[in-house]
């Protein structure tokens, strides 16, 4: 291939890739008749199936996406889903880049200092993904000097571990897969994460890990809202009430969370979605 041919094909390829990239536009609300008005920008980190992920076509997909769509319909506004790294969500909300956070974010005291939360919509808990031969049977086993615990930065698992497992050594990682790998490779005894993901990971790495699924700290997920934006908060809370009453959550459970529902029911744990609990 001559030099100029190579150059031209490279440029052509770059342009094609550019066009493909541009096809990944942010999702908006209802397909046919777009509700008019200011789009509601909702921030999510799409690395958390089955709540926030992408389908094989690259479109955002999951429980939270369905909830967002329903919210848009309820409010009569188009919605725009803005994917970004989890760490950036609160900053983006505070500076007005996004209007809402809907990213399986736990409502807790620390975060409440920065942002407001809606009524909770889901109850889950922290669980342990333990190495198979690590000899860990409960949270109590973890608070010992010779234990090495993996946690993900910015998650409630990390916050809990720092508070409660003061004797153990903590290793924090930026991304979930890294934490899982530490346990699989026997470099950490356990990974503290939410119950549903622990379930899925323990299934995937059945040879090397075991999931201790009884949650040792209950957590509630909610929408994140800018401090002072009480109008939107009320609107979201109204939506949650209406959605629950209309059986919206049941439909979501059927579509996305069938396995998890079965697993939890077999353990006698109440299933995830909540309706009207007092805000933290």
């Amino acid at each position: 291939m001559t030099r100029s041919t190579f150059f031209r094909s490279f440029l052509a390829l770059a342009c094609c890739l550019g066009l493909v990239a541009c096809s990944d536009k942010p999702t908006s609300g209802a397909a046919q008749d777009e509700p008019l008005g200011d789009p509601l920008v909702i921030g999510m980190d799409l690395t958390y199936p089955p709540f926030e992920t992408k389908d094989t076509k690259g479109k955002p997909f999951g429980v939270s996406i369905d909830m967002a769509t329903a919210l848009g319909e309820h409010l009569g506004r188009p919605i725009e889903i803005k994917p970004m790294a989890f760490n950036g969500l609160i900053a983006a909300l505070k500076t007005g880049n996004i209007d809402l956070i809907l990213s399986s974010m736990t409502a807790n005291e620390k975060r409440s200092k920065s942002i407001d939360f809606s009524d909770p919509y889901l109850r889950t808990g922290l669980s342990i993904l333990a190495g198979k031969d690590a000899g860990v049977n409960s949270a109590a086993d973890l608070d010992q000097a010779d234990r090495r615990i993996a946690v993900q930065i910015g998650t409630t698992g990390e916050m809990y571990a720092r508070d409660q497992f003061k004797n153990a050594k903590l290793v924090s990682f930026d991304k979930t897969p890294a934490c899982v790998m530490e346990v699989v490779n026997k470099r950490a005894d356990a990974f503290i994460f939410d119950q549903l993901s622990v379930f899925k990971f323990s299934q995937k790495h059945a040879d090397t890990t075991i999931g201790l699924l009884k949650p040792f700290q209950e957590e509630f997920w909610a929408f994140g809202i800018r401090k002072g934006n009480d109008e939107l908060r009320t609107e979201v809370n109204d939506f949650l009430a209406a959605f629950g009453a209309a059986g919206g959550f049941d439909k979501l459970a059927e579509t996305h969370l069938a396995e998890e529902k079965a697993m939890l029911e077999s353990m006698g744990i109440p299933f995830l979605f909540v309706t009207k609990e007092p805000s933290p």
Binding site: L17, G18, A21
Partner: protein
């Protein structure tokens, strides 16, 4: 005294060495990966090829944009540092030291969430390209400045003696010689730029690395996405190195 001309693809020795290297790398990788007690699941990764491609495309577009703008910034800064005006020189110097002395991540966070916000700039793509260019431009400025300074004084003198004015000296003597010298460092900077674009996910740009993480997460995988990710970046950076090598050959002269 005539340099030997080498054709691009010499069979024999070069191919042997290349094949040997690839084999060595493959064996080392295989050994390392064997040690992992990790169950690989490649099949699901293939399903997500569109996700990878979208990320790769965005990275390409952003990198190319930042490449162009960073050259403009780099040239402007280098010129400012070589100019007669004290204000220009000091401003440029301050810019370069500030940008080179702080991490790109910090620049992205402050640049997007604070500065761009204050200016009312919401388009994260434009801001991302600008911030990446601002970063790379500072490094390019130093490279260019060094290249210009490295053109020997005797060359400048000869240019003056021949009757060139300042612009002609730059155009015919300084620039061609400096260009040849800065090419390797500039290529390195552009490769860095492509890799640094992976940080843009923190301001909401779904570039290649982010998309790979999405694919990883969607399939509950930990590692599989990283292989195509690495290969994808190589597909971007190797041609850059190739183009640079071609340019260096073209500009080569003995001195």
């Amino acid at each position: 005294m005539v340099p030997m001309e080498r054709t691009r693809w010499n069979t024999g020795r070069e191919v042997q060495v290349a094949a040997g290297l690839i084999l060595a790398v493959a064996i080392c990788s295989a050994t390392v990966f064997q040690k992992l007690s990790y169950q690989w699941n490649w099949a699901v990764m293939v399903d997500y090829w569109r996700v990878f491609l979208m990320g790769l495309g965005l990275t390409v577009v952003i990198s190319l944009g930042a490449l162009v703008v960073s050259i403009v910034i780099g040239v402007a800064l280098a010129a400012a540092q070589l100019s007669g005006s004290v204000v220009l020189r000091w401003s440029a110097r301050a810019y370069v030291e500030l940008i080179r002395g702080t991490p790109l991540l910090v620049q992205l966070l402050i640049g997007y969430f604070v500065i761009a916000n204050a200016l009312g700039l919401k388009n994260e793509f434009v801001v991302g390209v600008v911030l990446l260019s601002v970063f790379a431009g500072a490094y390019l400025a130093e490279i260019l400045r060094g290249g210009v300074a490295s053109v020997s004084a005797s060359q400048i003198e000869a240019a003056r003696a021949v009757g060139f004015d300042r612009i002609q000296i730059f155009r015919f003597v300084t620039a061609p010689q400096a260009l040849r010298r800065v090419l390797p460092a500039m290529t390195g900077e552009f490769v860095s730029l492509v890799k640094n674009s992976s940080l843009l996910s923190v301001i909401g740009i779904q570039e290649f690395t982010y998309q790979a993480q999405v694919a990883n997460a969607a399939t509950y995988n930990s590692l599989e996405a990283f292989i195509p990710l690495a290969l994808g970046y190589l597909a971007l950076t190797l041609p850059m190195a190739g183009v640079a090598a071609w340019m260096e050959r073209k500009l080569r002269y003995e001195d």
